[in-house]
Symmetry: C3
Subunit: 194 residues, 3 copies
Amino acid sequence: MNVVGLLAFAVVGSLRGVDADLDLLGVSVLGVMTALGGGVTRDLLVNSVPVALRTTTDVSVALLGVVVGLAIGRVLGDVTDHSFVQVSDAVGLSAFATTGALVAVDAGLSAFGVVVLATVTGVGGGLISDVLLRKVPFVLVEDFYATCAVVGGVVFWLATTAGLDAGVSASVCAAAVFGLRLAAIRYDWELPTV
Amino acid sequence: MNVVGLLAFAVVGSLRGVDADLDLLGVSVLGVMTALGGGVTRDLLVNSVPVALRTTTDVSVALLGVVVGLAIGRVLGDVTDHSFVQVSDAVGLSAFATTGALVAVDAGLSAFGVVVLATVTGVGGGLISDVLLRKVPFVLVEDFYATCAVVGGVVFWLATTAGLDAGVSASVCAAAVFGLRLAAIRYDWELPTV
Amino acid sequence: MNVVGLLAFAVVGSLRGVDADLDLLGVSVLGVMTALGGGVTRDLLVNSVPVALRTTTDVSVALLGVVVGLAIGRVLGDVTDHSFVQVSDAVGLSAFATTGALVAVDAGLSAFGVVVLATVTGVGGGLISDVLLRKVPFVLVEDFYATCAVVGGVVFWLATTAGLDAGVSASVCAAAVFGLRLAAIRYDWELPTV
């Protein structure tokens, strides 16, 4: 789950970097930070040394994602609004929201803690890349982005509390976030401005 | 003290979101992050799992603050410069600076550690909302904002070192920050540009 | 090593604040945050209470750096592109990249963990000051900035693995980062845009 999210977000982050005309290393830094951002924040919030620093897997996968992103960018050109990028982003969002919920339940957090950690882990990478590229954070202007992760956290908590095992809860959570996000993009769901 | 700060900053953050024409969920995300930002940073810096994730109180209070903020926004219209917002912000600043100083003393930090933690906790929420809304951070351009929290940290440390108990020190610290901030707004205190 | 980095980055940060026409306290906040940013992030990532909060040294040195920066700003005027600032920045980068690598090895991180921590610690201060001043982060647009810290992390890890003691490894790492950064500035090294 973590590997899928890392790969998806590294691809999305590096493609955003290509669109912003960054140099090769700028693209790499942005891709890696987008991929690692959510997970590192998640680990810090439950007070453990980030997995990304303890193993070599995470950084390797993120770098692989950057290479894939560069290859795709070469083929497709400007792709930020391409459906491939939107789907990759939805994959990353659902994978990371799920790992956030898993880690939160393991750490014995409250129900709200589970929801907050799922949300922060899911949206963290995209938020970091937006701040670095000086864009208005997507999470603030797009209604059904953070909401999908919030719903995922609630679903995971309900599933766990209902006695389902972690694997099943995780699958249900990931499916809920991914489906909701795709539906939101497809049908252009919006909430009224206040 | 924590509850008062959460409520005040959630109101301020959500009103800023309304002024920036964010959607309902963008306003909620901004309000919650403004409310929780300082406290989460404070807890991470002393190496504990953030209170906001371990209990349900903090997130509930922040969401309540968002509802209050939305109601006020509906009544008053554009309110970022309204004195109600400035006073709420001063309340949040003083409440969080005080919790920062309290936590720092409990964690056995140095005198400078107490001052830094009071400052970071006090200004953290506003700083996060400024970065997300892509404004020049208030804390960099307004002289007597961070300064008020710095003074609060010094006052708390002096009071504790003088042997006063934590409750009294906290009250003195909160009063100092709040009074200083209101006086700075009222009399438009400024320092010369370098 | 830490003291040298703090001093260098506090000077650079406060000079950037002067160029941005901040008030005296804005300059101080920016200088202190630039100086402490990398080290605090480093300590949080390995899950310890930041040194900057436990001792009085770090904040004192950062404040001293701000005073030095203000004095230099008064003498030289607009100085962001002055070679003195670029050299100070290279000193800070190499000193902090080295402390990051040292802390990572002490914490028993993986090889990638050492490289990531060296990089994050080295570039953290500059990144924070760029975000606060709403500039495009230097680390994203300048190829041979983060790269220098990455190389430093690799060099440190190789030296340690080869059995050199920590002091020697640190010296080699610092020299590599500093030399590479100066060479990159001098010869205007660039990588192609993707």
